[in-house]
Symmetry: none
Subunit: 206 residues, 4 copies
DNA sequence: TTATAAACGAGACGGTACGTCCTGTCTTTTA
DNA sequence: TAAAAGACAGGACGTACCGTCTCGTTTATAA
């Protein structure tokens, strides 16, 4: 799902005939763990690579060997730590949608994940990094939600004339906009209110 | 509109009989100008007060004397530089709304303003600063948009049972979500797509 | 006797109308003191600027602000610390000469001074630094010794046909040669043996 | 002539019944060659073992396996590279002496050898290393010169009351002192002047 | 022949120091 | 009394080597 090092590539079939002393995977984990912990304690701005190295009991060059910049380290750490997405489907699209949105919005606005997205957005350069994050985090979640909306439309729970992509943006946007605007994690009640409002507007003939 | 310094007060009537050498207003302008320029060139993270002082040909303490922190300097600079909001109204609320939203979204997601909002949001502390920004930037714009929606509702262009605040959140949220999801300024077409969809959902009987 | 900083010049008459906060002379002394102490404890090779800064309770940039390189710091420290040269003359040139040579050779081969000379010599570049050391340390001492030899020659204690410069080279050279050949400080006995031999060769008619 | 490695012992009779892959002698040569080359290019201080390994296309541990420290590597390299000493004798001791001194002084003050002597002297510890260098380099040369002086004294070319050791120190010392003082290799003319002066002073009755 | 054992390249590792940059505060002289 | 200039302690930056340590591989002798 994520090959660690910046420049290396997976080449899945090959059993990696690398030369030299192999990197110690436990260090990787320790660094990522320390990064996540410090992100939570200090936030992105205050996080320093020095502190990460100290916390994970690793030499500073050992961090730089794997991640050349702070943002790459943080993105990687967040991606590895993000809870895996498990979608449970019933035959009630509204319930499914509400449940998944609630979970994802909470995840996004409470943990370090949201902070990381902001830090990423704030960077003008680094489009590849943004793409990496989108590919491994945003898109899979978005697609899962779109699938649900798609089913709902097919079942007639939603009007047929809607741009579902935009509809999804409305929901996710409203939630993140609240977070964004008042700085607090968006709780279940707020999310539910948003979803309900949108669903009510977009309700189909059935 | 904004009395810059931390401890100073305006005392508008008094012609300021203060002792000692008076502050040079041109320095203030130079600093603000340099800040805006460097924000554009480097982004918030890479911006340093040192660079601002150098660029504006001012000693570093002269900057600190007026703005104690980077974020306060940046917020102030952005507020002073933000284009003033001119609302032109016709008797077609949809057109008015679309036009103003498009303008504001573009302004927000392309210039240094957006960067500053992100930097502000990324900070957990500093609520007073967020409030300052909200008061001087966000709320006026939001209110202008709400006025338009209000008129539309009164004219019957919108369903009568809507929470207009939430409706506005949907639009602005979707736009900002697109922005910080793919990292690009939100163009006119995207904005129009969002507004159209919402309008379609909220369309009144007329 | 020596104005510290690399690029500054004394301009003795002017009372230095420099702007900005002046450098704190006590820091200069502390740094020099720490340098001398560490030179004695560790030797030139093991000496680090970091340790100097720590020992003298000063930030590292404060050291670099004054001395851009280790060798310049060390040379300056040694020059400031070198015992001032006090020449006592009697009317027995041989005794005077022996006494002064013994003192200087001991000083040179036992303390940190010698180490510094070696470090300097070992550098192929930095001729200006060598010249600085020669001007402020070597030449004054050499001239004092030449004065004594000159008197001796005038009094007839030395043969009249001698190149006194070469004669002095012989003495100083032999001493330093012993020093860096067997690595030990040259003791009084050895120095006396050298001086005696040379004097015996160069003895005048009287 | 020199068993390189730190912990190994010669045990000359035994043909080394070691198991495992034997060390590759060509690597030793490559390392020594790279060391000498880099000594010339960079000087002792700037020389790094890393650079030696890279230049000689060898892994760093391969260097450390043979020489535990930089100074030992350098001393060994210099000793192996020093031109072998060939003494040609005539029945003119002055000419023989002048010739040999000139050769040795040039060798000492122009190549990396002098630098190494200085680096060695600069170290307070490592007496065994100093002794090793003295035994394999300095003493043989010194003895050869002493032999010549001895013959000269016996033939009456030198005064009989002289301490020949000191006399030799005078010559070698004066030469190295010049090198030491102005940082340039001592050329033939300078050496000749020194020898001539000393010889003139020490000339015997014949 | 087949172990066994050391040498070898490559490179990871914890560390230390480098020299630079920036922070936010302070101390001067100048206006 | 503020401005300007710049010193200051402190701390993080990203890099270079240090000397040690695993690896996988090669190359010799010993069983």
């Amino acid at each position: 799902m994520s090959n660690s090092a910046g420049s290396e590539q997976a080449s899945p079939g090959t059993p990696a005939p690398r030369r030299g002393r192999p990197r110690d995977d436990r260090l990787e984990q320790a660094i990522v763990g320390a990064t996540i912990a410090l992100l939570g304690e200090l936030g992105y701005d205050e996080l320093t690579i020095e502190a990460v190295a100290t916390r994970s009991k690793v030499g500073r060059p050992t961090v730089y060997r794997r991640w050349p910049t702070k943002i790459e380290l943080v993105v990687d750490a967040v991606l590895r730590t993000a809870p895996s997405m498990t979608v449970v489907r019933s035959n009630d699209p509204l319930a499914d949608f509400t449940g998944l949105v609630t979970k994802l919005v909470a995840e996004m606005t409470s943990s370090s994940i949201g902070r990381t997205v902001l830090a990423l957005t704030a960077r003008s350069d680094d489009d590849t990094l943004k793409e990496k994050f989108a590919e491994h985090y945003l898109r899979p979640r978005r697609n899962a939600l779109l699938d649900i909306l798609d089913d709902a439309a097919r079942q007639g729970d939603l009007r047929g004339d809607l741009d579902l992509e935009v509809l999804l943006d409305l929901v996710l946007g409203a939630a993140s906009y609240q977070w964004f605007t008042n700085g607090q994690p968006v709780d279940t009640a707020s999310t539910r209110r948003i979803v309900t409002t949108v669903w009510q507007l977009a309700r189909g003939p059935r």
